[in-house]
């Protein structure tokens, strides 16, 4: 193989067919920016929902005069229950202290006694911060003697879960559509860029080039389209991310983190787009007839 010639052909292909190359690179860049942007938006929404869900806690209020053995039994139940990450005991005094912190008034001064019950605050681990797991826990704990009431923000949890599911499905469908459109767009643009070089292909065949020889520069060129296209997409994604972070600063406490592993993904997908697009298109030209 005259590697020198083939590599040179691959690189000069970019310069010789400026417009088709530019179109192929642009289509890869736009597709990857849309896909990358969709991925970032999806993961951010997921992170926000996770954050909201992690703040959920179950509060177990005890009856007045509950015995120590009741408390031990409850603690054992909590320890054995699936999905419980941690729990803490809130005594009557601590409850009063919290009341004062939240409402600015001393409940004992106001009422003459402390009516607040003892309670436990239970936190679920990440895998069990969902409606089903929490309901199961609530049902179990409610039956333990000495437990008066178990409270959690049931309505909010249900809404979050419903939206989470809807967003996940809608996001998945949109990403699939974008991916399909990207494959079509990139495939057709590359086909056009190869169509623009049909003279080179025809003449190479006339002078005795094998299919492999003809294909190689196009593969190199396809990979180059992919590398340059993903480079452009990386820059666009970075700008997009910084811009969104800047706009959200006032509204949202969590700062967006640029995921650098995403860049690797963008590069790999970009090169694959370029390579597969070129290979598929060149095959159409090479497989036409015995001669041509």
């Amino acid at each position: 193989m005259s590697a020198r010639f083939l590599v040179k052909e691959g690189f000069s292909g970019l310069v010789r067919a400026k417009f088709p190359s530019f179109a192929a690179i642009l289509s890869i860049a736009i597709s990857l920016t849309l896909l990358g942007g969709g991925y970032i938006a999806g993961t951010e929404v997921y992170e926000i929902i996770k954050e909201v869900k992690s703040q959920f806690q179950v509060e177990v209020f005890l009856l007045p005069g509950v015995t120590k053995s009741n408390k031990t039994a409850l603690e054992k139940t909590l320890k054995d229950a699936t999905g419980v990450a941690s729990y803490s005991f809130i005594s009557k005094d601590k409850a009063a202290e919290r009341f004062k912190q939240e409402f600015g008034e001393d409940i004992i001064d106001a009422l003459g006694s402390n009516p607040l019950p003892e309670s436990y605050t239970v936190k679920m681990d990440a895998a069990h911060q969902n409606y089903d797991a929490i309901t199961t826990l609530v049902n179990t704990v409610s039956k333990v003697p000495g437990v008066d009431e178990v409270q959690y923000r049931r309505g909010v949890l249900q809404v979050v879960e419903r939206y989470f599911r809807a967003i996940a499905i809608a996001g998945g469908v949109i990403l699939l559509l974008v991916l399909g459109a990207a494959i079509l767009l990139v495939g057709n643009t590359i086909k056009l860029s190869i169509f623009a070089k049909r003279d080179v292909i025809r003449i190479m065949r006339l002078v005795g080039a094998t299919n492999r020889f003809i294909r190689t520069p196009f593969i190199i060129e396809g990979a180059l389209h992919g590398v340059i296209g993903s480079g452009v997409a990386m820059v666009l994604l970075y700008i997009l991310m910084q811009g969104t972070d800047f706009l959200l600063q006032g509204l949202y406490s969590v700062r967006l983190q640029f995921d650098y592993t995403l860049l690797g993904g963008v590069l790999v997908v970009g090169i694959l787009f370029g390579l597969i697009g070129s290979l598929r298109s060149i095959r159409l030209f090479l497989n036409r007839r015995p001669g041509y």
Binding site: F5, I203, R205, G208, P290, G291
Partner: protein, 216 residues
Amino acid sequence: MIDFYNVSHRYSRGAGVYDLNFSVGRGEFVCVVGPSGAGKSTILKLIYMDEIPSTGKVVVNNYDSSMIEKNSIAYLRRRVGMIFQDFQLLEDRNVFDNVALALEVMHARKKEIKKRVLESLNSVGLGHRSQYYPQELSGGEQQRVSIARAIIKDPVVLLADEPTGNLDPVVANEILTLLKRINEKGTAVVMATHNYALIQNTPFRRIHIEHGQMVD
């Protein structure tokens, strides 16, 4: 070296060639003559296996159309030079690179390519034009470049499909003289033409084609 055995080839649009039987020997100069649309180009295409016969077979330098695999056609074409009425040069590369392409596809070394391209260009009188682009050359010069590209690989046969079709009579005669010179060095030439005047004073064997058939 080139043998047609009961060759018929029909295109889907209807035209084609029918029941051709002839041979071209090594070093021979043969003119395929006939009016436009008679099937002259089809005969050349059958020789460089751009078309495979519907029935019968063509054998070129031991490559048999009835058995040839798609990948082997490239190797056949390294032994067959081709020139066309429209020159088939790449406009985006210079004369040197156009001619070098024929050796690049055969994986020749850079040094050898340089030497042989210049030799080939000199042999057609264009050694001084190697850095020009096709569009900077006259029609006759462009055809010489395509001849240089065809003969650089020392083909056993040079196929010329209306090589003078786009040229004025004076230049056409120069090209014919060049083809004769190439033939005298031992390369067979098969030239398709409808220009009877061009070849009337030549001693070459003629194959007359009309409506896709050989006529006496």
